[in-house]
């Protein structure tokens, strides 16, 4: 890269800022957790994950953490994705293809509405936490 002018420096900072903010973990209150067990991956969890990353970028959402986890146990309904948004019930979606992932970002994360046709269930109660 050549010598920068003031405008170019500012532009570069803006571009890179978005990228480095993904590394920060403060002030992120939304969790998207993708089940990436063997079953999930076979059913297309990777494509869903990529779609989530791209779509969250498109909407410029800065408060979302995308995590992955192992098999959630609903192997017939993979890929499964758990979405946790404050003030909304924690929700598990099933059969999340890339298109459904897009829909979830748009409706659930942005408009705060559940994507009812793909809601699988609320997560089962964690007996360890509630003893």
């Amino acid at each position: 890269m050549g010598r920068l002018t003031l405008e170019e420096l500012r532009k570069l900072r803006e571009n890179k800022k978005a990228e480095i903010q993904k590394r920060e973990t403060d002030n992120k209150d939304i969790d998207v957790i993708v089940g990436m067990g063997t079953c999930g991956i076979a059913a297309g969890a990777k494509e869903a994950l990529d779609a989530f990353i791209a779509e969250i970028d498109n909407h410029n959402l800065k408060n979302v953490r995308i995590k992955q986890t192992g098999c959630m146990g609903f192997c017939t309904y993979e890929p499964t994705v758990e979405v946790k948004v404050p003030d909304m019930p924690d929700t598990i979606y099933n059969k999340v293809s890339a298109d459904v992932a897009k829909l979830i970002v748009e409706k659930h994360l942005v408009q705060k509405q559940l994507v009812s046709e793909y809601v699988f269930d609320r997560p089962s109660v964690d007996i360890l936490k509630n003893k």
Binding site: L4, T5, L6, R13
Partner: protein, 600 residues
Amino acid sequence: MAYRSYILVCGGTGCESSHADKIYQNLKNEIEANQLFAQVQVIKTGCFGFCEQGPIVKILPENTFYVQVKPEDAKELVEEHIVKGRPVQRLIYNPNEDKNRTSLVTEEKDIQFYQKQFRVVLRNCGMIDPEVIEEYIARDGYAALEKVIFDMKPDDVIEELKKSGLRGRGGAGFPTWMKWNFTKNATNSETKYVVCNADEGDPGAYMDRSTLEGDPHSILEAMTIAGFTVGAQKGFIYIRAEYPLAINRLKIAIKQAKEMGLLGENILGSDFSFDIEIRLGAGAFVCGEETALLASIEGKRGMPIPRPPFPATHGLWKKPTVINNVETYANIPMVILKGGDWFSSIGTESSKGTKVFALTGKIKNSGLIEVPMGITLREIIYDIGGGIPGGRKFKAAQSGGPSGGVITEEFLDTPIDYENLAKLGSIMGSGGLIVMDEDDCMLDIAKFYLDFTVDESCGKCAPCRIGGKQLYGILDGISKGNGEIEDIQKLKDISLAMQRASLCGLGQTAPNPVASTLRYFEKEYMEHIVDKKCSAGVCKDLLQFVIHKDKCVGCTVCARKCPVNAISGERKQPHEIDQSACIKCGACYDACKFQAITRG
């Protein structure tokens, strides 16, 4: 395509010496092997500070903090954490070292070591890749420089520094704005210089090295701001050749900044030009003294000259020169960006901002910490440092290295700032903080530091050259059982003469460890002199190990441990130590399960 996961590997010298580089390479290879290179980025960052638990690897976005990682763990980390999304439990921090691993702490923010820290200087360490300028820029890098060049006048910068209350972090604590103002207003020459003192030499101190390794651009940016403010076109970083990693990262940073037009001719298209060169020092402690440092840059032997005139007006080649320490510079971009008022809201009445300490010695969590001024030593040692290992009792903490003194138990609750430390007979210094427990002999500590300063004295002035040698001789005599009561007075007299008459800071402060240990531990000196004993068990000439016949069961463990075969005795019969052969290593004392061996 954006990355979904980031693996941050510590690339500080501490972790690097525990094969962090190999870990980084292995992780990259594993990512490659799993075809994840488009989704997962592996980044080598600066020091995370928690050196005790290094090498450290942090995985985002889960923010999982892995400790004591080994190169062979890379495969498991990638296959389990990255591919399957399952944290690798055995590498997660286990603060209580509990065997069932029920109290693991996964995230950095929950680790007690980080709870009371506040990072201004180390803001980018462990966050960015220090070898990639774009990452620094993304974290508001060079925004302060941009603001200074295009929106501020030199006087505005001085005003902001004045408001901030920033004082020199190299030791003496001189207000930074005053230094800059002197050089700015100097009329004796058009040519002026900016110098960064990176000649960190205190035993046990490594704050400046870690800052340079983790965030080299912050120093370049601050020096350029200094250049703009005082009217200099040239800067020098004086760094010891013993810091190869820091030097390498600085070189990379300078090259990148020049390519992007953030350093060199017409910075960002303005008519301001500034260039920085690195000068390597051979590691002489005296070159941390500013006049000796400047002499060394000029190519002369590193020896101090009397002040005034001060470097601010008559510095490098007799031209006006701003000289600040690494940590001071690292604060500057934040002062400019967030404002002097923000900075002065941190800290105490007289000492603003934060201070980085290298916490070492008899402490559980040794490492690099940054805390607001005004924190107490108790908080640093017990809350951040986790206390003294092995259930031993705290005896004293040494601040300021060979120029500083000890702080004892009764002053643990004193808020730390420049003035309070001076009152206690120590100094802030550059920030080495060495914790000592009951097994440390205070006389031995004083002797250790004097040995260092005698070695490092340049020999130019008599008080330092002769005084130091004499002080050391007296201490050595006392530690060998040849001390006399009059020695105490002699120590005090010579110390005073050195403090008053030495040419530079090295000689003036060299007696501090003696004066300070005498002040708080005179009893221990008397014990050495009168009783010819060292209750800490350090001064070997005063020690004797004796086996008590009534307690010894003749298990032969001590005889087998003794490296010089000085212990004899039949099996199941009491043993005996041959005092003429004993080298007083204490191996028998540590090995005996029946407390049959006494030390005294």
